[in-house]
Every structure is written in C-alpha cells, then in structure tokens.
C-alpha cells in the first residue's frame, strides 16, 4: 500500500484478476437423520481471469453452496478449489462476496459500511478516498452519510456491491445479488455491474436463477443441476454467450439461447415444441 508518486489520490491499485479452478468439488451435508446428503458432486470448472461466469440452476441445487466454497465461507467435502493455483483458505482475502441481501450494519452510515470492505492496513486517507471513489462509482455519493434503513433496497444493494469492491478483490463472488430487487431496478443494477466490471475488470462468479440476467452479464453460463437420479448437482452444460457486452436485451440470438437454457432448467418454453411458430411477428396496434 505504498502511495505511488504519480497516482492521483484515491486511484486504486487494482489487484490483478485471478483465475479460479474447481477440481472434482463435492459437498455433502449431514442430514437430520444422521446420514449425509450430497449437494454438489464432481464439479469441474475453470474461470479465466477477468471473465464473468454465471452459475445458473434451479432453486436449491447448490449454486450458493458452490459460491460459498469458492469464497472460503464453506469447505468442500471432496475435491479442491484454487484461486491463481493457490488453494482457497477460510474467508479468503482474495475474494469479496456480494450477498443476496445487502447485509449492511444498520448502525453504520453507508460510507462506513463500504469502508468495512477495505483491506486491512489501508491508511485512513487512502481508505477514505477509495470509499468516496466507490460511492461515486455506484452513484451513492450523496447518500454517504445515510443509514442503511434510510435508503431504498436497490441503494442498499449498491452499497453492498461497493463494499465488496472496496476489498479490491481478485475474484468477485455475487450470490443472486439482484434477486430481491424489483424488475426495473434489477435491470439498472445489471448495467451498473457491467460499468463496474469495465472500470475494474476483476473475475466475477455470479450465481443467479434469472436466465436473462445471466445472458446479459456473463461471458459463459454454467448450468448446474442433478444428472438423472444420482444425488448431488454437477455441471450439466456450459454455454458461451455470443457477442460483446452490453448486449441488446431484445436480441433474437439471445432469445433462442434463453429458450435452450430454460429447457435445460426443465422449463417448458411453450413455443416450437407445441407447433407454434417461433418467428411470428407481433402485429402493431391498431390491428
């Protein structure tokens, strides 16, 4: 944390994005009856440095568990996880987590909550400049002094994102970060995340159950799910999302991909499968 002579105040020396490798990761929980229940089984996944990978899967399939294992909040019962060829430690300092709920400390101002994410040993002045820059980045500069209960859910979630970024992570782990937000706010937050990523291109692992969100944000989408009757979820499918971000939300190519992903999630797409032409154009009003 030596202040670079030429760097302007508050310019973060961004940590280089790091690749993540999961090898044969499994996680079994002890069931109430004393037995074990496999949640994850043989998960192999490589995430390149700076890549955004979305983990998609039905509810309860172990997406969050997988993310928590990468963050060091949980430990695998089989296999291993490495960041930059170095095994993940408990509460790994190279990761920052954005939780599904904001999880801000209610007695602290937004500013001081974001400061919580700063790495240990950050100087007071550097820390303050860094927090101010991040609040600016997520559009909360005006609300720095507010308490979490004084701002909206979307703003609290932005503060939570800023706190995660304050850690200057090599890997950013987002656990359904926009799941609890209303539809419009969610779209805005997705755009914000893309802005943030282009400003600080860290590796992002994003858990979501929203196919559109995955298509909009990710370079690759990993479909997690159980294979047949075997217990435990694994990687069912990996989809490379075409094109560059930001992507057109109305693109026909993405619509086709969405249909396939929904199919992979076991959702009936109600279209071509029932003989209805997928290419019908919507007539303009008045009909």
């Amino acid at each position: 944390m030596t202040p670079a002579p030429a760097a302007p105040a508050g310019a973060a020396t961004a940590a280089p994005a790091a690749p993540v490798a999961l090898r044969g990761v499994g996680r079994a929980f002890t069931a109430p009856d004393g037995g074990t229940r496999d949640v994850l089984r043989d998960v192999d996944l490589d995430v390149d440095a700076g890549e955004i990978v979305a983990i998609l899967g039905p509810s309860g399939c172990g997406k969050s568990t997988l993310l928590r294992i990468v963050a060091g909040l949980d430990h695998p019962t089989a296999g291993e996880v490495a960041i930059d060829d170095d095994a993940v430690r408990p509460y790994d300092v190279r990761c920052a987590v954005g939780f599904q709920e904001p999880r801000l400390l209610p007695w602290r101002s937004i500013e001081r909550n974001v400061a919580l994410g700063l790495p240990r040993g950050t100087g007071r002045r550097d820390g303050r400049a860094q927090v101010a820059r991040l609040l600016e980045l997520v559009g909360l500069a005006e609300f720095a002094g507010h308490r979490p209960h004084e701002v909206s859910g979307g703003m609290a979630q932005r503060a939570s994102l800023a706190r995660a970024l304050a850690r200057n992570p090599e890997v950013l782990l987002l656990d359904e970060p926009f799941g609890a937000l209303d539809a419009l706010t969610r779209l805005k937050m997705q755009d914000l995340l893309l802005d943030v990523h282009s400003a600080e291109p860290t590796t992002v692992l994003l858990v979501t159950h929203d196919v559109d969100e995955a298509l909009q944000l990710a370079d690759r989408i990993v479909l997690l799910g159980a294979d047949g009757d075997a217990p435990g979820a694994g990687v069912r499918q990996t989809v490379v999302v075409p094109g560059h971000r930001p992507r057109d939300r109305g693109s026909a190519e993405l619509a086709e991909l969405r249909g396939r992903l929904l199919d992979g999630l076991g959702i009936d797409r109600h279209g071509a499968a029932r003989g209805i032409q997928a290419t019908t154009t919507i007539p303009h009003y008045p009909y």
């Binding site: 963050a71 909040l73 509460y91 300092v93 920052a96 987590v97 939780f99 709920e101 999880r103 400390l105 209610p106 007695w107 602290r108 919580l116 994410g117 790495p119 240990r120 706190r163 850690r167």
Partner: protein, 338 residues
Amino acid sequence: MTTDAAKTTDTERSGLPDGSVGSGFAAPVAVGGRAVAAADATGPAGADPRPPGREERGAAASVARRPRRPARPGGSAGSDGGDRRPLSSRRWFRIVGGALIPLALLAAWQVVSTTGAVPVSQLPSPEMVWLAAVDLAERGLLGLYIAISTQRVFIGFAFGALFGLLAGAVVGLSRLGDVLFSPTLGAVRAVPSLAWVPLLILWFGIGEDSKVILISIGAFFPVYTIVAASLRHVDRRLLEAGRAFGLRGATLFATVQLPAVVPSVIAALRLALAQAWLFLVAAELIASSMGLGFLLSDSGNTGRIDRIFLAIILLAVLGKLSDALVGLLERWAVRRWA
C-alpha cells in the same frame, strides 16, 4: 393559497415602509411573522371575505414554521408542540398525562383522610407524611437514609452489572463458556434472593459488604441473562458478512456483535437497576441501622405508619428517577445503534 400570497405581497408593497420586502412567493418567509401580520391588518380593505383574525393566525403560523425546517435536517427529531405530530407524542402532553394519575391519587388520599372514612392509624393523611419527612429531615436522618440507600444501590448495581456483562459475554460468545457456565449460573439464578441473606450475614457480617453483595447478586442476573441471550442471537448473516470481510476475534466483536447488542444491554441495565432497588430493601429490612429499608422495618416495629408511607413514596420516587436516567441513555442508544 397562491392568490392569497400574491395579494399579501401586494399590500406589503403598498402599505409597508420596509424596503426589504421582495416580490413573489419567498417574501413572507423572508420578512417573518411581524410583517405578514401587519400586512394583514391592511388586508381586509381588499376583496378578502374571510375574518382577518383567522387569516392572520394561519399565515403567521405557517411563516413561523417554515424557516425552521432547514435547521432540522433529519426531520424526525424535535419535541416541541409546533409541528403536526399527534398529541400523544408531544412532550408536554406526556408529562401532564403521566402526572394526572399520581395527582388524582393524592387528591383521593387527601379526601379519604379528611373525611375520616379510614382511621388515621391505617391511612395517615398526606400532611402527616409530609410532617414525618420534615421531622426526619430536621434530625438529619432523611438525607442520610436516602444517601446511604442510593449509595448501596449504585455500588451494588455497578458491580452486579459489570460482572453480568462479563459473564454474559463469555457465555454468549463462546460455545465452551456456554457449556461450562450456563447450567451453574442458571441454578444460582433460581435461588430466591432472600435465601442468600443468612449466608451473606454469616460470611460478611451485617456491614455494608453483605448488603452491597446481595444487591450485586440482584443486579447481576438480568444483565447476565439478557446479554448472553442477545449475543447468542446476533444476526448470523451479519456475522458471516463481517467474517467474509476479514473481521475475526476482537475486531468482529467490536464491529458487529457489540453494537448489535447495545440496545438490549441498556434495557438489561434498566431492569438490573430496578432489581437493585428490590434487593436493597430486602437487605436493609433484615439487618441494618440506616437506610430506607431500615426506616421501613423500624417504623413497622414502632407503628409509625406515616413513616412507612414516607419510605414507600421515597422508594417509588428514587426508583423512578434512577430509571429515568437509564431511560435517557436508552433513548440515545436506540437512536445511535438501532
């Protein structure tokens, strides 16, 4: 409203020598209540059909209120009656409302004792109680009793609360501490307070020590119980978030756990203080030569019912006063930490 304001401004321009009167909407605010009132006095000459008095009051009130708004950025504080909050949350109403029943009781007491419905040996008149207080005060005993009792309560409370905080922290934070200590402490808590008295007198004599220790025991358990329980129930998701951002041990405690339990710790202190007064009387009733509990037992033995009333009233007032002090602390803490 718009036309009214415009009209007022017009009359101000023509009718007032004050050159500082601007134009438009902001003028009444800048000028203040005096100018608007003056303008309104000339107002009824115009086309306003409303009675001047009402108009004046409304305008002056709104003018008086408006400039104060920016002074209160939060908008939530403020306790005077000038705003539109419901009657039941205004301070003067709470004070008057809270005093109503004590005053009514006092009046009823006076009526019952002057009509002689209850004999004086059962219910002394308020005057007799007052005279008993004056008598004790003249002999220098009243101040002494109050002082010694208050001192015992506060010393006992301080020790009990301190140890309660420590024990509560150990049991609430560490699984091992919970396993080791909570069954024993739970059993000790189940012992009725008076059961300690003979033992404490045997061990520590009938001096200050035994009383202060008994009061400490009384203050200890509410604090211990509430602190341990609330530390154990700190939001796990906040704890996990704290850990995920590199907090552990003492820093996690200071950053997440301690602030999260501050409101309940203060509620526990409040409860412990009430308990301390309870145990004070228990300690002083049994073995003492001064203090309010001694006044109670001594007066009971000598049949001085006026002094019994005096002691009870003093205990009520002192307990309420000390409770109000902690209540202030609690209000501050809830605003700051909750």
